[in-house]
């Protein structure tokens, strides 16, 4: 039983870590701008594409990785300046529509550049190596992802709690207008948020695509949505919430992928039920349940309606 479940659990934890890194970007941006940044998943995909092209053009891998992270953060910065900043005073839905537009643009741009073909992700040494833990064979990246994620999250929480810019972020997410009156340079705070968010999405893309090995223009859509669901699940605006949510979703999704085999081995069912079809759908079912039961998520703050 355990030996059947364990590989799925392992990949669940790994994918969960990757979702967590993406989810932080969503939750931070939402916390500050109250905007679902639909383009975030696509930035994650673009980071993968940049890596593919950079490695193919002969840049050594040790240089590729920091360059990819830098470029991804830059893209996040540019997107915010071009697509969201002009809409700061517009109704909230306009910014969300703009985010959908950016997502559409990024996908089409990548479709144009790649010709719509699957791109093989370069093999990063060491983290692509196979390892065997507790009898389950997997890639090194599966093992290091949760640790790397936790380390980055701890660093981020330190940044938010103990630095000046972190304090500014907290202030802005609490009250946009008042913090402006207190002399906080709001544009700088927002840009920093985007840079941090997309940087983490870049890290996630390194880990995720090392695991899945191919990138295509639509690769970012599903992980993006799931990470967003994770952010909502954990209580949007809360970084620990996003991380917990992401791990729960990653694990649940992978367990469901293997549920047919697990149930069969446990002797509960005699034939395949085809439940793997629902591995994506389950995430959304979870979202709807949490929204119906506790609309602010696991760790979210209660918001009261003001007239």
């Amino acid at each position: 039983m355990w030996s059947t479940v364990f590989p799925y659990l392992l990949s669940g934890i790994s994918v969960g870590g990757q979702y967590a890194l993406i989810a932080i970007g969503y939750t931070m941006v939402y916390g500050i701008l109250r905007l679902i940044n639909f383009a975030h998943g696509d930035v994650f995909m673009v980071a993968g594409i940049i890596m593919v092209y950079m490695a193919a053009s002969g840049v050594p891998l040790w240089l590729c990785i920091p360059l990819v992270l830098l470029l991804t953060a830059l893209i996040g910065f540019v997107i915010e300046r071009v697509a969201y900043k002009p809409l700061r005073t517009a109704p909230r839905m306009s910014a969300m529509i703009s985010a959908i537009g950016v997502s559409y643009t990024l996908q089409n741009l990548v479709l144009y550049i790649t010709g719509g073909l699957n791109q093989i992700y370069p093999t990063i040494p060491w983290i692509s190596d196979s390892v065997t833990i507790f009898g389950a064979t997997t890639k090194m990246v599966t093992v290091i992802t949760p640790f790397l994620t936790l380390a980055l999250v701890v660093a981020l929480v330190m940044l938010i709690n103990h630095t000046k810019i972190g304090m500014a972020m907290r202030a802005v997410s609490r009250d946009f207008e008042t913090s402006q009156l207190m002399g906080i340079k709001i544009n700088r705070v927002i840009s920093t948020t985007f840079v941090i968010g997309t940087f983490l999405a870049g890290v996630a893309s390194l880990l995720y695509f090392t695991n899945y090995t191919t990138v295509i223009q639509t690769s970012g859509a599903m992980p993006g949505l799931k990470a967003f669901v994770a952010a909502v699940f954990g209580g949007i605006g809360s970084i620990p919430g996003a991380v917990v949510g992401a791990f729960i979703i990653g694990i649940a999704e992978n367990i469901i992928k293997g549920l047919d085999i697990i149930l069969f081995k446990a002797g509960i069912v005699s034939g395949p039920l085809g439940l793997a079809t629902f591995s994506d759908a389950f995430t959304f079912a979870l979202l709807i349940i949490i929204l119906a039961v506790k609309p602010t998520g696991l760790f979210g703050e209660k918001i009261t309606d003001k007239v």
Binding site: T105, L111, F278, F284, A285, I288
Partner: protein, 371 residues
């Protein structure tokens, strides 16, 4: 505005629409059926209906729903399932022994059924979802669309939905052509009929928008709390609007099935919803006319007018750089971003065709409250 009196601008608008229909009918008899014009008109009619149905929610009620693709999927499947001829079922449901459903319904009844099925799902989905606010609602409806997509691909439902295989061989738009005894087409109707179906549905939506119910929806959009204080029952109005919108999205889905001639669940992705949302935004959130115009423009640009960007073009001996497969979509997305960022009102803002005519005659149209 006085509702009883029909002013001349409305009549002129009706005449314009009628003239367009006549023009399409005439054109269809004389221009070869393979012309891109008809492809655009057919797909445009489908998208126009779905866009207007989305506008009813997003533009008029202020419910930001992103579930349109899911409801279209339901509509397309219900249409396909009930209209595949009994004789063809063995071919289509080849892995499921001919499938469970062993009868065929007439096309129009199946279309209405598509709408009803979508509305029923909308009712069920609305129970938990409609209590949510703006972006939470958006993401929840989007999630439901994904769940529906997975459900229709589930192998266990194969005898009904054909699993992840496609549905095909059901009646399509071409079956609306009237054929003579020798099988030759006598009267071409394959473009006119979808335009008529879509036109009738949009007409119903316009009547709804201008009714007491429609005004209540606008009140909800402007201010939920104020609307509630004025005695509008929020929950039931929202639910009804959601179901009506989904009904027409379902009919639109059936039309899309006819247009595509095949149906497969995996093509109804969130990208489809985004496309329709962008159509609504380009047309103007809160304008039915705008949604219709932008549907046809959107389809024409993406299927026809911008096609040249996808091929190599030579000006004399100079090869225009950048042009190759996919460039069309890049240009297209940039146009969309420009509209979203700089022309937030879209083509029509919140105006309708009669408003334009009134405007032309120098009389300032009242109403159309701009925020």
């Amino acid at each position: 505005m006085n509702r009883k009196k029909i002013d001349s601008a409305t009549i002129i608008s009706a005449v314009i629409v009628l003239a367009l229909y006549v023009a399409v009918f005439v054109a269809e008899q004389f221009i070869p059926a393979t012309s891109m014009l008809f492809t655009v008109l057919k797909k445009g009619a489908t998208y126009a209906l779905v866009a207007v149905s989305m506008n009813l929610l997003n533009g008029f009620t202020g419910i930001f729903s992103l579930g349109q693709a899911g409801f279209m999927l339901i509509g397309a499947y219900v249409y396909g399932i009930f209209t595949i001829p009994v004789l063809s079922r063995m071919d289509v449901y080849q892995y499921y022994n001919g499938g469970l459903v062993q009868f065929t319904l007439p096309v129009f009844i199946a279309m209405i059924l598509s709408g009803l099925a979508a509305a029923l799902f909308a009712f069920l989905i609305g129970l938990p979802v409609l209590r949510l606010k703006s972006d939470y609602l958006a993401i929840a409806t989007l999630g439901f669309a994904e769940i529906i997509r997975a459900l229709f691909q589930w192998d266990k439902l194969g005898p009904i939905t054909n699993g992840s295989n496609m549905l095909r061989l059901f009646p399509t738009f071409n079956d609306f052509n009237i054929r003579g005894a020798d099988g030759q087409v006598v009267v071409y109707l394959s473009t006119l009929v979808p335009l008529l179906i879509s036109g009738v549905c949009i007409g119903v939506i316009i009547l709804l928008i201008n009714s007491t119910f429609g005004r209540a929806l606008r009140a909800i959009k402007d201010d939920e709390i104020a609307a509630e204080a004025m005695g509008i029952r929020l929950a039931s109005h929202k639910r009804l609007a959601f179901c009506i919108s989904s009904f027409f999205a379902g009919v639109g889905g059936a039309m899309l099935a006819m247009y595509q001639t095949t149906v497969q669940a995996k093509s109804f992705t969130t990208a489809m919803t985004y496309e329709i949302l962008l159509i609504v935004v380009i047309g103007g959130i809160g304008s039915v006319t705008g949604s219709c115009i932008s549907s046809f423009l959107f389809v024409a640009c993406s299927e026809w007018w911008l096609r040249f960007l996808d091929q190599k073009q030579m000006i004399g001996t100079f090869e225009v750089p950048l042009l190759r497969n996919g460039f069309r979509l890049v240009v297209f997305s940039i146009i969309i971003m420009v509209v979203v960022l700089f022309f937030r009102q879209g083509i029509m803002g919140t105006k309708e065709l009669p408003d334009l005519i009134r405007g032309l005659r120098g009389k300032r149209a009242k109403g159309g409250a701009d925020k």
